[in-house]
C-alpha cells in the first residue's frame, strides 16, 4: 500500500511527459493519449483518496530525496486528493463533451497542439493542488497561464487572439505581483517550503519584527490571485476569453483554471500564513467587500447580455464573488462553504458551457439568446442539462448550487453580526438576480418555435450527450450526498494547519 504514496507525483509527471511528446504525433493519437492519461489520473487520484481515507492525516512526498529545507516537496491530504480527483473528472467530461467541436474549431494539423495544452494544464493544475513549495507554485501558475492562453487562442479567429492577449496581460500583472510577494516572503523568512514559512511567520508576529513587509506580501499575494481568478474589479478579461473559445476550452477555463489559483490561495491562508494572522491583517475584510460587489455586479452585467455565452461568462464573475465572500467571513464554516462552492460551480458551469454549445448548434450556430428559442426540443439532452445547470446556479433544492448556498447561509451565522446581515442580504439579492437571467434563458429554450426545424442530417454528438448525463449525475450527487464531501473538506482544512 505504501506504493500509493508515489501516485500523486506520477499523476503530475504523466501529462507533463506525454504533453510535449504529442507534438510529434498525429492529432488522433494525441487525442487517444490525452484521454488515456486523464482516465489514468482519475484512477490514481481515486486510489490516493481511498488511501487517505484509510490512513487519515496527510503525508509529504520528497522529490529527489533531499530533506527539507533543501528539497522540493509535495503534500497530500484528503482534501488535495479529493480536489485532484474532482478536477480530473470535470476535465475529462468537459473534454469529452466538446470533442466533436474541437474537431470542428481546431484545424486538423493543429489538433495535437490542442492536446499538448490540455496535458500541460492538467499537470499544472495537479501541481498547484499538491505543491508544498511557494516558488514551485509560482512556476506552475505560469505554466497554467500559458496553457490556458493556448486553449483560448487555438480557434485562431481575430477576437480569440485579442481575448488571449487581454488574458495574458492581466494574468502577467497578477504573476508579477505573486512573484514579488513570494520574494518579499523569502526575504523576511528565508524559506520557501510552506511549513518552514509558517513557523517563521508565527515567529515574526510574536517578535513584531517585519510586520509591515509581511502585510504587504499577504496583500500582494491576494491581489495577484484575485486578478488571475477574475475577482470583480479585475474581471475585464473574462467574458471574451470564456465566450469565444471552443466549448471544451470554455468549460475547462471557467470550471478549473481559476479554481486552481483559488485553491492555492486557500493553501496560502492555511498553510503559509495561518488564518489568525490573515484575520489580524484585515485582508479578509477587503476580500469580503469585493466578493459581495462581484456577486451583485456580475449578475447585473449578466442580465444585460443578449448573448447566451457571454451571459454564462458574466455569471462566473458572480460565482467567483461567492467564493471570495466565503473567504471574507473568516470562519471555518465560511471556508468550507467556499470550497464546496468551488466544486458546485465547476460542475455546473462546465455543464452550462457544453450544453449551451449543444443548443446553439441546433440553432444555426447562433448564440443570441432569442435565437435559441425552442432549442430545448431540438436537442433534448442539452436542454435538460442547461436547465439543470441553471437551476443549480439559481439554487433550486437537490442540486449542487443549493447546497452551497445553504452552507454559505449557515456560515454567515458564525461570522460577526454586521457581516452576517450583509451576507444574507447579498445572498438573497444575488439569488433573485441569478434567477432573472437563468430562468429567462431556460424559458426561451422551452418556448415552442415555429419555422426552425432541426438542420438536415443533424445527429446529436453521442459524446456530448454522455458527458452531459455524467455532469447531471455529478450535480445531483453534490446536491444530495453532500455530507461525506463536507466531512472531507472539513477534515482536509483542519489537517492543513
Amino acid at each position: 500500500m505504501e506504493f500509493i504514496r508515489n501516485f500523486p507525483f506520477f499523476s503530475i509527471l504523466l501529462p507533463m511527459v506525454f504533453g510535449p511528446i504529442s507534438s510529434c504525433l498525429s492529432g488522433k493519437t494525441a487525442k487517444k493519449i490525452s484521454f488515456t492519461i486523464l482516465c489514468i489520473d482519475c484512477i490514481l487520484s481515486g486510489a490516493v483518496l481511498a488511501y487517505e481515507q484509510q490512513t487519515g492525516g496527510s503525508f509529504t512526498y520528497r522529490m529527489g530525496n533531499f530533506p527539507a529545507p533543501f528539497g522540493n516537496e509535495i503534500r497530500i491530504g484528503v482534501l488535495e486528493a479529493f480536489m485532484a480527483l474532482f478536477f480530473c473528472a470535470v476535465m475529462l467530461f468537459s473534454l469529452f463533451g466538446g470533442i466533436s467541436h474541437v474537431a470542428m474549431d481546431v484545424p486538423e494539423e493543429k489538433t495535437n497542439l490542442y492536446f499538448i495544452m490540455i496535458n500541460l494544464l492538467l499537470s499544472s493544475l495537479l501541481a498547484l493542488i499538491y505543491t508544498n513549495d511557494l516558488f514551485t507554485a509560482y512556476v506552475f501558475v505560469e505554466i497554467n497561464t500559458i496553457s490556458a492562453c493556448g486553449l483560448i487562442m487555438i480557434r485562431g479567429w481575430g477576437r480569440n487572439i485579442l481575448a488571449a492577449v487581454k488574458y495574458m496581460i492581466m494574468s502577467l500583472l497578477g504573476s508579477g505581483l505573486l512573484l514579488i510577494s513570494i520574494s518579499i516572503l523569502y526575504g523576511i523568512t528565508g524559506h520557501l517550503l510552506m511549513e518552514n514559512l509558517h513557523e517563521s511567520v508565527v515567529q515574526i508576529m510574536a517578535e513584531q519584527t517585519y510586520v509591515e513587509p509581511l502585510t504587504v506580501a499577504i496583500g500582494l499575494f491576494c491581489v495577484g490571485i484575485a486578478i488571475k481568478s477574475a475577482l470583480f474589479p479585475f474581471h475585464s478579461w473574462l467574458p471574451d476569453a470564456y465566450s469565444y473559445s471552443t466549448c471544451s476550452s470554455s468549460a475547462i477555463l471557467s470550471g478549473l483554471v481559476s479554481k486552481g489559483y483559488i485553491f492555492l490561495l486557500i493553501k496560502f491562508f492555511y498553510r503559509v500564513i495561518g488564518t489568525d494572522i490573515i484575520h489580524q491583517s484585515h485582508v479578509d475584510n477587503i476580500l469580503f467587500i469585493f466578493g459581495i460587489a462581484g456577486m451583485i455586479i456580475g449578475s447585473i452585467s449578466a442580465i444585460q447580455q443578449t448573448d447566451a455565452g457571454r451571459m454564462i461568462a458574466f455569471s462566473s464573475v458572480a460565482q467567483i464573488g461567492y467564493i471570495y465572500m466565503g473567504f471574507g467571513l473568516s470562519t471555518e464554516a465560511g471556508m468550507i462553504a467556499s470550497v464546496f462552492h468551488i466544486l458546485a460551480h465547476a460542475a455546473s458551469k462546465s455543464m452550462l458551457f457544453v450544453s449551451a454549445t449543444g443548443l446553439s448548434e441546433v440553432s444555426g450556430g447562433n448564440t443570441f439568446y432569442r435565437a435559441l428559442t425552442g432549442a430545448g426540443y431540438r436537442h433534448p439532452f442539452a436542454g435538460i442539462a442547461f436547465s439543470v445547470g441553471s437551476f443549480s446556479m439559481v439554487g433550486i433544492p437537490l442540486l449542487a448550487g443549493f447546497t452551497s448556498k445553504v452552507y454559505f447561509a449557515e456560515a454567515a451565522f458564525t461570522a460577526s453580526r454586521s457581516k452576517m446581515i450583509v451576507t444574507l442580504i447579498a445572498l438573497a439579492i444575488s439569488t433573485v438576480l441569478n434567477a432573472m437571467y437563468f430562468l429567462r434563458q431556460v424559458i426561451t429554450i422551452y418556448t415552442p418555435a415555429r419555422g426552425l426545424p432541426k438542420p438536415e442530417g443533424y445527429h446529436m454528438a453521442k459524446s456530448m450527450c454522455a458527458a452531459l448525463v455524467l455532469f447531471i449525475v455529478i450535480n445531483v450527487l453534490l446536491g444530495m450526498c453532500s455530507h461525506p464531501i463536507f466531512l472531507w473538506i472539513r477534515d482536509g482544512l483542519a489537517n492543513f494547519s
Partner: protein
Amino acid sequence: MSILWENYIDVAAMILFGIGFSNLLLQRNLIKKIIGLNIMDTAVYLFLASMGYLTGGEAPIVENGVVEAEKYINPIPSGLVLTGIVVSVSVTAIMLSLTIRLYQRYRTLDLDEITLLVRKEHNDGIYS
C-alpha cells in the same frame, strides 16, 4: 531617509517594478506593454539577486578547499532568478507571437484600435 540610501538596490528595484507594472497596465501599444513586462520581471530579479548577495562573496562553487559558508553568496536566490528568467522568456515569446498575429491581421499595434476593429468584424458577422 537614510534607510532608503542604505537599501538603495531594493528601492531601485521597487521603482523599476512600479514603472514596469504601470507600463504593462496602461500602455496602449502592445510592444511597449511587453517592454513593461520585461522591466517588471527584471526588477524582481534585481530584488532577489541583491537579497542573496554578500559583499565580497564568491560564486558558491568550492575552490581551493575554502569551505566556510560566509565566503560564498547564498545560491538559492540566484537559482530562483534563473528559473524566473526561463519563465519570463517563454511568456515574452508568447506575447510577441500573439502580437505578430494581431499585427498581420489588423496592421496596427494599438490595443484600443484592435478592439474597435474586432468589434466591427463581430458586428459585420465575420467569423474567421
